[in-house]
Structures are given as C-alpha cells and as structure tokens.
C-alpha cells in the first residue's frame, strides 16, 4: 500500500493537483484512518469521518491548484488541521448538545486555526460552483447536456459532435459557444440580483 512512498510530498501534491488517482489514493490511505477515527472519537459518526476527510482532501486539492502553492507543513498535518476545523464548524452548526462537543483539550489552536482562510475560500468556491450549477440547470437542452459533457465529463469535442449529432467538430464548437453565451447571461444576471 505504501510502496510508492518514494515520492516526496511536493511531488505528491503536484500529482494530486492534476487529480492523478495513484497520488490521491496514496494520500487517502496514509491519512484517512487517523483523521476519521479522531472525528469518531469527538462525537462524529463514521459517515462524518468519511465526509469531513473527503472535504479536507478537496480543500487540499483546490489549494494545490495554485502553482505557487508550497505547503509549510506536512500533508498529514494540513489535512488534520483542516478536518478538525471543518468538524468544529459542523458541530457548531448542528448545535449538538454540550456532551457531544469535541474535546477542546486535544486542540492546538495555533496550528488548527491557521488555515481558516483556506476553508473560507473553499466555502466561497463551493457556493460559486453551486450557483454555476444552478445556472447550468436552467439552460435548455441541448446546451445543458453539451456543456456538462465538455466540462464535467471531460469529453472531447469530437466525442460530443458524434454524441449530439453534429456533422463536424466546428459545428459542435459553434454550438458550444452559443451555449456559453447563454450561460453567461443567466449566470451573471443571477449574480447581479
């Protein structure tokens, strides 16, 4: 499982940023159990452990998109800090009974709250993507499916031309630009409101 530990953490991050499966899997394997068992110990269900850890992985993934990004700590430390933070927020939101609140004693405030900015940026991004998806869903067909095929499913214009019955990729492209123009209208009108 840990055979590919030869990678340095920075290499791992670069591969993670590209969404490479092997690197993602390695990071997952290394840190999942520690973090999810911490969450379970602090009043979470197993599903919470999995959810929070996945969310922390996404935060790291987004953070790694920035080419200048250099972690000042180990990946594990980062993931743990972000997970703890996400878990507190979730518990606060749910306003669980005091008995279920995580044990504050085990927290290093210095480290664990350092990444608040990352988490806030993540929240904003999620809201933004959410709005974008709402706008996408308001598009009629074939635009909705076409844009989803290109951006979400990562299909090539060639595949899309075949699937949507365009005679060539240029026609498909023209259609895609029309769809983008419509999406832009819907999205920025909704933003302006």
């Amino acid at each position: 499982m840990y055979s590919s530990l030869l990678h340095t953490e920075q290499q791992l991050l670069t591969a993670l940023a590209k969404g490479e499966r092997a690197a993602t899997s390695q990071i997952y394997q290394q840190h999942h159990n520690t973090i999810s068992s911490w969450i379970i110990k602090n009043g979470g269900a197993a599903a919470d452990g999995a959810d929070i850890f996945q969310e922390a992985m996404v935060v790291l993934y987004e953070k790694a998109q920035n080419e200048d990004f250099r972690l000042i700590c180990k990946i594990g430390t980062y993931l743990f800090a972000v997970s703890k933070h996400l878990w507190y927020k979730k518990v606060q939101k749910q306003q669980k009974q005091p008995g279920n609140l995580p044990d504050k004693a085990g927290i290093d405030e210095e480290i664990d709250w350092t990444y608040e900015d990352d988490i806030n940026a993540h929240k904003e991004r999620e809201t933004h993507y959410e709005q974008l998806n709402v706008a996408l869903d308001q598009l009629g067909e074939p635009c909705r499916s076409l844009l989803k095929a290109f951006y979400h499913q990562d299909k090539s214009m060639q595949e899309i031309a075949t699937e949507f019955g365009y005679t060539n990729t240029d026609n498909a492209k023209t259609q895609k630009y029309k769809c983008l123009a419509r999406l832009r209208k819907i999205f920025y009108n909704a933003q302006a409101k």
């Binding site: 969404g19 379970i40 999406l183």
Partner: protein, 360 residues
C-alpha cells in the same frame, strides 16, 4: 454572432494558455483600450475558469469516492462502520413508515384491548418475581386442546412480536409477554408463510419464551443458524443492531449499549439506545460481528429510544435448565462475521420471523 464566437475562442485559448505571444500582446492592447471589451472578456474568462474548476473538482470528488469505496473494501473493520451508516440511510424511510404504522396499530390494538396491561406492563413483570414458572408442557397442552386450524388462521391477531431461530429445525425465541395467555401462536416467516407454533418453555421473570414450530418439516433457512449466542456481558458503548418485524415487514435499526444493567438495575438486561417499536419485542440484538447479545423486550416510557433487552445469558440459563429431551443444540459457528452489513441482514432475515398471537 461570429464576433461573439471570437471572444469565446480567445477566452478559451487564454485560459488554457495556448495564446501565442503576439496574440497575447494584441489582446492586452484591446483590453487596455476598450473597457467594454475588457469587462466582457473578463466575464468570459471567469466563467470558463469556473466551469473548468468545477468540472475538475467534480471529477476529483468522484475519484475520491471510488478510492473511499476501495479503501473500505480493503479495510474490514472500517468497512463495517461505513456500511452500517449507508444502510441506515437506506432503511430510514421504510423504518420510519413502518414504525409509524406500527405505532398506530399499537395504539389501536394493544392499548385499547388491554389498557391495564400495557400501562403497567413492567410493573406486572417485576411484581411477580415469586411466581417464576418454568413450565414446558402446560401451555402446549392448552394449545393442543384448542385444535386450532393449521392453515392460515382466520381469527383476529391480537399481538405481534418478533422471534428468531435457535435451531434451524424450528425452535425459536421470543418474549414471554408476546405469547402470554395466547390461544394460539403462529409465526410468519420471510416468505409470508404461516406456521403454527407452540410454547416449548418460558421464563416469566426474564421474559423469555421458547417456541417450537409444529410442522416437523419446517426449517428457517438452508443451513444451520448463522449466529452464535454470547452470554458474557458486552461493554457499554458497543454498537449493536436489530432486525424486527413491527409491521409484517422486516425493519433494521441500530444503536448502542448505554448501560450494563436494564430496567431498575436488572443485571440480566441491558439498557440500549436504539429505536424500537411495538412488534419488535423478541427481536435479536447483535453486535458488529453478528453475535446475539440480547433480546429486545421493552422500551422506556418516554419515546426517546431507550430500550431494554434481555441478555443472551438469561436465555442460556433458561436453556440450561430445560429437559434434555427438547434437543436444542445452539449453533456453534458464526457465519456472519466476514459478511458485509447488507449480506448479513439478507442472511439474518431467514432466521427471524413475525410472531402472531391469537386470543379471544
């Protein structure tokens, strides 16, 4: 239209970084000199970046999801934990509906027909400690004298409970209060078939009754009973689950052991936090490895998930005191240990049944 397309083409090339240097410079000039174009171009670029970003993130999330599934597959103990949760979500609707209906039925039948008993059921049970009866024959004879029809009974069902197999050949266990004073007892198995059963033994004090399906050819499932009985006290906090038949349909619930002793400190019981509903009396309580720890018997007065269950130890004691001629050999091998939660439930379903009690 073509100008429209051009701006997108340009924005696309800009975002993907494929613009040649000369094109970049001319773009920069346009942006500097034409503020309308600049803001339009900026919007296009933002939109494309958002689309790319959200698409990438979506794919990353689905990769993560796949990895998680693989991880839990490869990691048995972790698997049980995550699997149970997903199941819970799956059964939640069914469970809630069944519970609601069961509750309604409970109010309609149990309380209206027998209000005194249900209101003070626990007191009755606790109050008759001196009258411990361990009878093996009395009730069998009573029931035989009734000569109830062996086909699907026509009389009105008065109570229902849950039972689960002790042996594949037709011994099962349920609560004594389920079959107390019954004119006749039928079980309904997972296929919905009715079989007449008789009370083979009971212990009123611990609220356990052992039934025997009268049909000699009856078996619960294909093989031996797949679970084992654990008499030793389980620890507080242990996660447990139960399968019961509150309303003619099997319902899954999960919870944990909240105290070592049960109602009023009864050491032959556990206190659980686990949603239980009328009709689930007699349902098995299993641990994460598929061992029977206890039998659901009652719930607290507040409908807050507080449930009491008789420990397997009480059942083992009763079995021990019985006549050897009954020939009850408990299963020795646990075949549930290495199954997923879903497989486990599918298997368990065969060895549980609804217990229907007919009374005048």
């Amino acid at each position: 239209m073509s100008t429209d397309n051009k701006i997108w083409e340009l924005a696309e090339a800009y975002v993907s970084g494929t613009l040649a240097e000369a094109e970049l410079i001319s773009l920069q000039n346009n942006v500097n000199t034409d503020p309308t174009f600049a803001s339009q171009f900026q919007e296009c670029v933002n939109l494309l970046q958002s689309l790319n970003g959200s698409g990438n993130q979506k794919r990353f999330r689905s990769t993560l999801q796949e990895i998680q599934v693989e991880h839990t597959e490869a990691n048995k103990p972790a698997k049980q934990v995550t699997r149970t949760i997903s199941l819970r979500a799956y059964y939640w609707r069914t469970g809630a509906v069944a519970a609601g209906i069961a509750l309604l039925t409970f109010f309609c039948t149990y309380w209206t027909i027998n209000p005194k008993k249900s209101a003070s059921q626990y007191n009755v049970l606790r109050g008759e400690i001196e009258n411990i009866k361990r009878s093996q024959n009395q009730l069998i004879q009573n029931i035989k004298a009734q000569k109830a029809p062996s086909t699907v009974p026509v009389a009105q069902v008065k109570y229902t409970g849950t039972g689960f197999a002790l042996t594949n050949k037709g011994y099962l266990v349920t609560n004594y209060h389920v079959v107390d004073g019954a004119d006749s007892v039928y079980i309904q198995n997972h296929n919905g078939d009715y079989y007449k059963a008789s009370v083979a033994a009971f212990d009123e004090n611990t609220d356990i009754a052992i039934l025997k399906v009268e049909d000699e050819d009856f078996t619960f499932g294909k093989g031996d009973v797949p679970y084992t009985f654990v008499g030793a006290k389980a620890e507080i906090g242990e996660h447990v689950f139960t399968l019961g038949w509150p309303n003619g349909e099997i319902v899954y619930n999960e919870g944990y052991i909240s105290a070592r002793n049960g109602f009023e400190g009864d050491s032959l019981q556990y206190s659980l936090v686990l949603p239980a509903h009328p009709g689930q009396s007699g349902a098995p309580i299993l641990d994460a490895n598929g061992n029977i720890l206890a039998i659901v018997t009652a719930r607290g007065n507040q409908n807050d998930g507080n449930t009491y269950a008789v420990s397997s130890n009480a059942l083992l004691q009763l079995l021990h005191s019985l006549n050897k001629e009954l020939n009850i050999h408990l299963p020795k091998a646990n075949k549930l240990k290495n199954l997923t939660a879903e497989q486990r439930i599918a298997k368990l379903e065969y060895y549980t049944c609804s217990v229907k009690v007919y009374k005048k």
